[in-house]
C-alpha cells in the first residue's frame, strides 16, 4: 500500500491571518521565555528564602562559575541527543582528560622537556594534550556507534566504567596538584579580566549583537521577506543590551576582598594605597563558555554540519538518502563532545586547583539533565544550545539555592530529580499544545 493515501488537502486555502499577538510580533520563542521565567522564579524564591543572600553579586558570580563546566558539556550533549544518541561517559571522560592534563604539566613536561610549572608553554601544551585525548576518545566511541552500530547507550555505559578507571591508573589514584598558575586562571575566581576589560567586552558584545540583529533584518528586507515591526526589533535590541550590560555590572559589583588585594600587592612588593578597591569582573571561564556557546550556535544553525546533525535527528533515512554520511557524522559528533569534555575538564580541575580521582563524578547525569531541561528532545531532531546552557543554570541555581537554605544533600538530589521529570512533562504538554512534535 502507499503510505500516503490522504487525498489533496493542499488546496485548502491557508487560514486567514489572525490578529497577531504581542509575542508573535516579537517573534520570540515562547518556550525560551518560559524557561527564562522559570529561572527568574527560582532566583526570586531563593532570594526570599535566604533573606536576600541569593541575589548578591557574590552569589551570582559563584553561580556563574559553578555552571560553566556542566554548561560547556551540555552544548555538546545537545548534538548527541538531537541525533538520537546519548553519552553516559562524559563524567568519566572528564576525569581521563583532567588526569592527562595534570600528568602532562606536573610530570611529563618537567621530566621530558624540562618545562616546569609556570613555564609559559606549560598550560597550553597541557590543554592541547587534553583536547587530543578527549577528541580521540570521543571519536573512538563515535566509531563504535556509527560504524559498528553498537548502541550509544551501551558504548558510553562501558565508557563510564572504563575512562574513570583509566584515569585512576594514569595517576595511581592520587590527587595531583597544585596545577600550573596560568592553567588555574580558567577555574573562575582565580582568573578574571577585571573591571575595565569587563566593560570593554560588554560594550563590544552589545555592538556585535545589535549589528547582528540589524544585518539579519537587512538581509530579510533584501529578499523581500516579512520582517517584524521596527518597534519589536528595537525592543529586542534594548532587552539584549540591558541584559549584557546588566550582567557585566553585577560581576563588576563583586569586589575582591581587601585581604586578598593586600596579599597581591605584597607579592609584587608594592604597598596598597588606602581605600583601594578592585572588582573581579568577568571570569575567563565564563568568556570560554560564551565563546563556545556562540561557536556551537553558529555550528548548529549556519553550517552544513549542523544542518546534517538536525536532519539526521529528524529522519536518519532521509538524511542518508540525501547523500549525508551519517556514520561519519556520528564520529564527528562524539569527537566534538569529547573535545568539549576536555575544555570542561580544564575549567573543573582549574577550579579545584588540582586533579582528583572523583572529578566529574555524576556529571553525565547533570549534563543530560541540563540538555533535556533546556528543551532537547530525546526523540531527536530538536534542541538548542542556549536552551541547554539555561538548563544548566537552572539546575545549578536549584542546587546552590537549596544548599544556601540548608537543605541537606539527599533532599537536594531528590528535588533535582523531581524537577527533571517535571520539566520534561511540562515540555511534552507544551509541545502538544503548540502542535509541535
Amino acid at each position: 500500500m502507499t503510505d500516503s493515501s490522504t487525498a489533496g488537502t493542499s488546496t485548502r486555502p491557508s487560514a486567514a491571518k489572525p490578529k497577531r499577538s504581542f509575542l508573535t510580533q516579537l517573534e520570540i520563542d515562547t518556550r525560551l521565555l518560559g524557561m527564562i521565567g522559570a529561572f527568574i522564579l527560582v532566583c526570586l524564591v531563593f532570594n526570599v528564602l535566604t533573606d536576600g543572600r541569593f541575589l548578591t553579586p557574590r552569589n551570582i558570580f559563584n553561580l556563574t562559575i559553578q555552571t560553566v563546566s556542566v554548561a560547556i558539556m551540555a552544548t555538546g550533549m545537545v548534538f548527541v541527543i538531537v541525533t538520537r544518541h546519548i553519552d553516559l561517559s562524559v563524567g568519566a571522560m572528564l576525569a581521563t582528560c583532567s588526569a592527562a592534563m595534570a600528568v602532562t604539566q606536573t610530570d611529563l613536561l618537567p621530566k621530558m622537556f624540562g618545562l616546569g610549572l609556570g613555564h609559559p608553554l606549560t598550560p597550553w601544551i597541557a590543554i592541547a594534550v587534553g583536547l587530543v585525548v578527549g577528541a580521540f576518545i570521543g571519536a573512538f566511541q563515535g566509531w563504535l556507534i556509527g560504524y559498528l552500530t553498537i548502541p550509544a547507550f551501551i558504548v558510553t555505559l562501558g565508557g563510564l566504567l572504563i575512562w574513570r578507571n583509566v584515569a585512576w591508573y594514569m595517576t595511581d589514584g592520587q590527587t595531583i596538584g597544585p596545577l600550573d598558575d596560568t592553567f588555574q586562571k580558567f577555574g573562575g575566581i582565580n582568573g578574571t579580566v577585571g573591571e575595565t576589560w569587563s566593560w570593554v567586552i560588554g560594550i563590544i558584545a552589545v555592538i556585535v549583537a545589535l549589528w547582528a540583529l540589524w544585518s539579519s533584518r537587512r538581509n530579510k528586507v533584501n529578499h523581500e521577506f516579512p520582517v517584524k515591526p521596527l518597534w519589536a526589533e528595537a525592543l529586542v535590541g534594548v532587552v539584549i543590551a540591558v541584559g549584557i550590560l546588566g550582567f557585566v555590572a553585577i560581576l563588576n559589583a563583586y569586589e575582591v576582598p581587601t585581604a586578598r588585594l593586600l596579599r597581591e600587592f605584597e607579592a609584587r612588593g608594592e604597598v596598597m594605597p588606602d581605600n583601594y578597591t578592585a572588582a573581579y569582573g568577568i571570569p575567563y571561564s565564563v568568556l570560554l563558555l560564551i565563546a563556545i556557546a556562540i561557536g556551537m550556535t553558529v555550528l548548529a544553525k549556519r553550517t552544513r554540519l549542523g544542518r546534517y546533525i538536525f536532519a539526521t535527528g529528524g529522519n536518519p533515512d532521509a538524511a542518508e538518502l540525501s547523500g549525508i554520511n551519517t556514520r561519519l557524522l556520528t564520529v564527528k559528533i562524539f569527537a566534538l563532545m569529547g573535545a568539549l569534555v576536555a575544555l570542561s575538564a580544564v575549567v573543573a580541575s582549574a577550579r579545584l586547583t588540582n586533579h582528583s580521582n572523583d572529578i566529574g563524578t555524576l556529571d553525565e547525569l547533570r549534563v543530560i539533565a541540563a540538555a533535556v531541561i533546556g528543551g532537547t528532545a530525546l526523540a531527536g531532531g530538536i534542541g538548542t544550545i542556549h536552551g541547554a546552557i539555561l538548563g544548566a543554570l537552572i539546575m545549578q541555581s536549584l542546587q546552590s539555592g537549596m544548599a544556601m537554605v540548608g537543605v541537606d544533600a539527599p533532599l537536594q538530589n531528590i528535588v533535582v530529580g523531581a524537577v527533571l521529570v517535571l520539566a520534561v512533562w511540562i515540555d511534552i504538554v507544551y509541545r502538544r499544545r503548540t502542535g509541535g512534535k
Binding site: 489533496g8 488537502t9 488546496t11 485548502r12 491557508s14 529578499h223 553558529v298 544542518r307 538536525f310 532521509a318
Partner: protein
C-alpha cells in the same frame, strides 16, 4: 541512439525474498517509462537500486553508454539522477527550504549556509509547482500529505536532473495538484529528461508514459509501447502476470 539508462539483469534479494529478479529495462532521453505492478511487485526496490539507496546482488547499470558503479545516493546524484521516494524522505523537523537543499546547501562567501537565499529559491520553485504553498518556514511535519509531496517533487526537479525517478509522486495530491505534476512531467520530458514513473493509476500512466513495464513478484512481465495496448491489456498483464503475446 544510446539509451540514457540501461538496467541489465538486475537482481536483489532480501533474505529469502527475491524482491527484484533478473530485470532489464532501458530509458531514453525525453522518454517516460512507467512501472506498474501490484503491491510488493518490486518496483520501488528496482528504482532504489538506480537511486543508490540499495546495492544490487547481480546486474549492471549503464548510463549514456558507460557502465557505472552506483554505491550510494551521492553517486546517483553525481550522475544527475534525482529521486522522489515513495516515503518522500523528508526530515520532519526541518522547514521546506532545508529539506529541498538537504545535502546541497547554498552557502555564502564564508561557507555558512545561506538560509535567505535558499528560502528565496524555494519560494520561486514552489510558486511554479504548488502556488497555494505558503508554509515556507515551518517544519514539514506541519504540512499536509500533499504539501509534503510538493516539497519532495521540488527537491527532485530543482537540481537539473537528467534522469528523474518518481515513485508514486501524485499519491497524496488533489486533482488540481496532480494535473500540475502531469504538466510538469510533460514539460521535463520536452526538455529531454528521462523519467521513470511509478503509479497505480493505469489511465494516468497511459496518458503520461511512452512505454510501460509491468512487474510481478520481482520479475519483469513485459514492456509495451502505450500506443500498442489498451488499458485492459495492461490490467490483465498486472493481474495475470503474463506478457501480452502469451495471454
Amino acid at each position: 541512439m544510446t539509451p540514457l539508462v540501461e538496467l541489465k539483469n538486475i537482481s536483489l534479494s532480501f533474505g529469502g525474498v527475491r524482491a527484484v529478479d533478473n530485470v532489464s529495462l532501458d530509458l531514453h532521453p525525453g522518454e517516460v517509462v512507467g512501472l506498474l505492478g501490484h503491491n510488493g511487485a518490486g518496483k520501488s526496490t528496482l528504482i532504489k537500486i538506480l537511486a543508490g539507496a540499495y546495492q544490487m546482488d547481480e546486474g549492471e547499470i549503464w548510463i549514456e553508454g558507460k557502465k557505472v558503479n552506483i554505491q550510494s545516493p551521492r553517486d546517483a546524484r553525481r550522475h544527475n539522477i534525482e529521486t522522489i521516494y515513495q516515503t518522500l524522505a523528508l526530515a520532519d523537523n526541518l522547514d521546506a527550504p532545508s529539506n529541498l537543499f538537504l545535502g546541497r546547501e547554498l552557502t555564502n562567501r564564508f561557507g555558512l549556509v545561506d538560509d535567505a537565499q535558499m528560502e528565496a529559491e524555494t519560494r520561486k520553485i514552489m510558486a511554479r509547482l504548488n502556488p497555494n504553498f505558503k508554509k515556507i518556514s515551518e517544519p514539514v511535519s506541519a504540512l499536509s500529505g500533499g504539501q509534503r509531496q510538493s516539497v519532495a517533487i521540488a527537491r527532485a526537479v530543482y537540481f537539473n536532473a537528467k534522469i528523474l525517478i518518481m515513485d508514486e509522486p501524485t499519491a497524496a495530491l488533489g486533482v488540481h495538484e496532480s494535473k500540475m505534476v502531469a504538466d510538469l512531467i510533460k514539460e521535463l520530458k520536452a526538455q529531454g529528461l528521462g523519467i521513470f514513473l511509478i503509479s497505480h493509476d493505469t489511465r494516468e500512466m497511459l496518458d503520461l508514459c511512452d512505454r510501460v513495464s509491468v512487474m510481478k513478484n520481482g520479475a519483469l512481465i513485459g514492456t509495451e509501447k502505450v500506443g500498442d495496448v489498451t488499458e485492459d491489456d495492461i490490467l490483465s498483464m498486472i493481474i495475470m502476470g503474463k506478457a501480452r503475446d502469451a495471454a
